[in-house]
Symmetry: C2
Subunit: 365 residues, 2 copies
């Protein structure tokens, strides 16, 4: 069942869903895109106002008139001009997504899921990505692209835009920050609970009886998330009475840093498991493991974190899957309530799901 609002929206485009697409019927000297509402009105023998009402109006329109308008619209291949509509209505039903690094599978997944949930709730969305080519303020440029379009609401899934940058627009445009923990009192956020993720992994490792564990610890500089995870994992291990050996991986680019150190720790009998702050880092370690003729989990247990890479399940890392789908769903729902005038700001934290995999086993001996 549809809400009145989404029903109105569904009716917005001629030939919405279920009939056969018939683009060629529109073929005339005049391209479909230059068919205006006035043309439809003329063809249907009504005024422009009536056409407008048929498509979005809350005002009732006679059934016969509706039919005539729909018929005319379809015949002419009318595509409503969103620009004109937004301009005249002074309000947009288009949502914007500011997406950092669509190259990252986690963000790509978020985009797809968000699109899905937004549509389900009867809203529309466009995405923009910041580009380095836009210069120093590149994230702000992308933000302005969205603002310039006068989007009706914004999802911000990027670490770099400062909350304060968004402040001047807050009472014009509802904003939901996704992924990054945020505590700004006027901005709603839906983020991954990295403390929970790290804790779940550390608990699992401890439960398998490991007494010495390497924890690969990246610097805070390049990935705050990885850093946070590592810190929490180590602390939690220690709370279990497990020896946590931090292994530094300062440079983000050199993703397999620390590999030799882990092998050495294992050879020296100090560790029976290694925890990585991301699946990618765990993956990067695999060749070293093989080169050292070690097996997992028989010789050394391994854990990652993320669970996002397609195919990662095939490798079978013990990992935590971050709840991208759930974040997308919550973000869309929250946006909807924000648009409906609800204004209570919260900061939601979503824990991931532990995946046992095949790389975490009991401590040897």
């Amino acid at each position: 069942m549809q809400t009145p609002r989404s029903a109105a929206r569904a009716a917005k485009l001629p030939n919405p869903d279920d009939s056969t697409p018939s683009p060629d019927r529109t073929g005339s000297a005049m391209s479909a895109l230059s068919v205006t509402m006035a043309a439809v009105a003329a063809a249907a023998g009504v005024s422009r106002a009536t056409v407008s009402r048929v498509f979005h109006g809350t005002t009732p329109v006679a059934q016969s008139t509706r039919d005539a308008v729909y018929a005319a619209a379809e015949k002419l291949g009318y595509v409503p001009n969103v620009m004109a509509r937004v301009l005249a209505a002074r309000s947009s039903d288009i949502l914007g997504l500011l997406l950092r690094g669509p190259t990252n599978p986690a963000y790509g997944l978020l985009f797809g899921e968000l699109q899905e949930n937004v549509s389900r709730l009867g809203m529309q969305m466009v995405a923009v990505a910041p580009s380095r080519a836009e210069g120093a303020n590149f994230e702000r440029q992308a933000l302005n692209r969205l603002l310039g379009l006068r989007v009706g609401g914004m999802f911000v899934a990027t670490g770099v835009i400062h909350a304060e940058m968004l402040e001047p627009f807050l009472d014009k445009v509802p904003v939901v920050i996704i992924g990054r923990p945020e505590s700004h009192p006027r901005i709603y956020s839906v983020s991954y609970d990295e403390d929970s993720n790290a804790t779940q992994l550390a608990d699992a490792v401890a439960a398998h009886g490991h007494q010495g564990v390497a924890v690969v610890t990246s610097s805070g500089g390049n990935s705050a998330t990885e850093h946070r995870r590592a810190i929490t994992m180590a602390a939690r291990l220690r709370a279990h009475g497990v020896r946590a050996h931090p292994v530094a991986a300062p440079t983000f680019g050199l993703i397999d840093e620390g590999a030799q150190e882990i092998i050495a720790l294992h050879r020296a009998g100090h560790i029976t498991a290694a925890m990585f702050p991301s699946d990618l880092r765990a993956l990067a370690f695999m060749p070293y493991l093989r080169a050292a003729s070690l097996r997992t989990p028989e010789d050394l247990s391994l854990t990652g974190c993320d669970g996002i890479l397609p195919g990662i399940d095939l490798i079978g890392f013990a990992t935590v899957r971050i709840p991208v789908e759930q974040a997308a769903q919550r973000a869309a729902e929250v946006m909807k309530t924000l648009l409906d005038g609800q204004t209570e700001i919260k900061h939601e934290l979503l824990p991931g799901t532990f995946l046992p995999g095949r790389t975490l086993g009991p401590a040897p001996r």
Copy 2:
């Protein structure tokens, strides 16, 4: 050095790149988004037309006037209303990207790269993804979202939109199809050369002296690309005098289909290598290989195809990397020429790069 056009664009937004963001200075009862060009004009003591000229005009404006306008714009936190601009100018400099499945890393990468190249050429872009929630015609809905925005050009990176669907808009909106081979005489396309990719892999396998090779062949239904690759690989192997054993993998969902059959073929001494139509399928085979206590490449050589999955290089598959970056660059360049009035339609084919990896070795014995 900038072209005049990109210089004009760079000037479009107040405080473009290099100065400190100062959002809070805009804070007043009136939100930044409701500051109009008229307000800026008034504050600068000029007419609206002049403000317009300062931001986009080809007409020269006195330096003192420019300064005054910029100052006023920045002081008020003016964000130009793109909707109004496009409506009045009857032409949009915003490009649209119709992106199928941003969840797929290859599409995510394409999005990012395209954004980068588009910005570099002084253009803007927004992306939309089709959503299943939009019903049967979901790809068309997404197309309409772009068309409704009256984008100045469209990139179409999705397999399902039929070329004919785009026909009615072709003379209004330049279209570049990316990824999927397309031969429509009025639509430019930039696609991956899957025949070349498959051939490179088959040549490499043959060159390593393999005489019997399993080729995992998915059905055309769910992935035309994978099907095409498999067919070409098998044919090319045979051209080299190599026995190609097709291994059927009819269902796309069950990605590890055929694994047991490959193991059996190897046990029977029929094959020394297995070729997969994608890295993901090759990845899915790994656990079976291990379960059978086989090693790669010592016992069995393996090849994949795509080279896109982050971390796939860490695993070291012999594969072909599809040239996403190059496709994005070409597509953006082509769009630019199309927008500049150049109309010669071509269908470009971009071959991938063979990556030797560690899973392809000489045939045993």
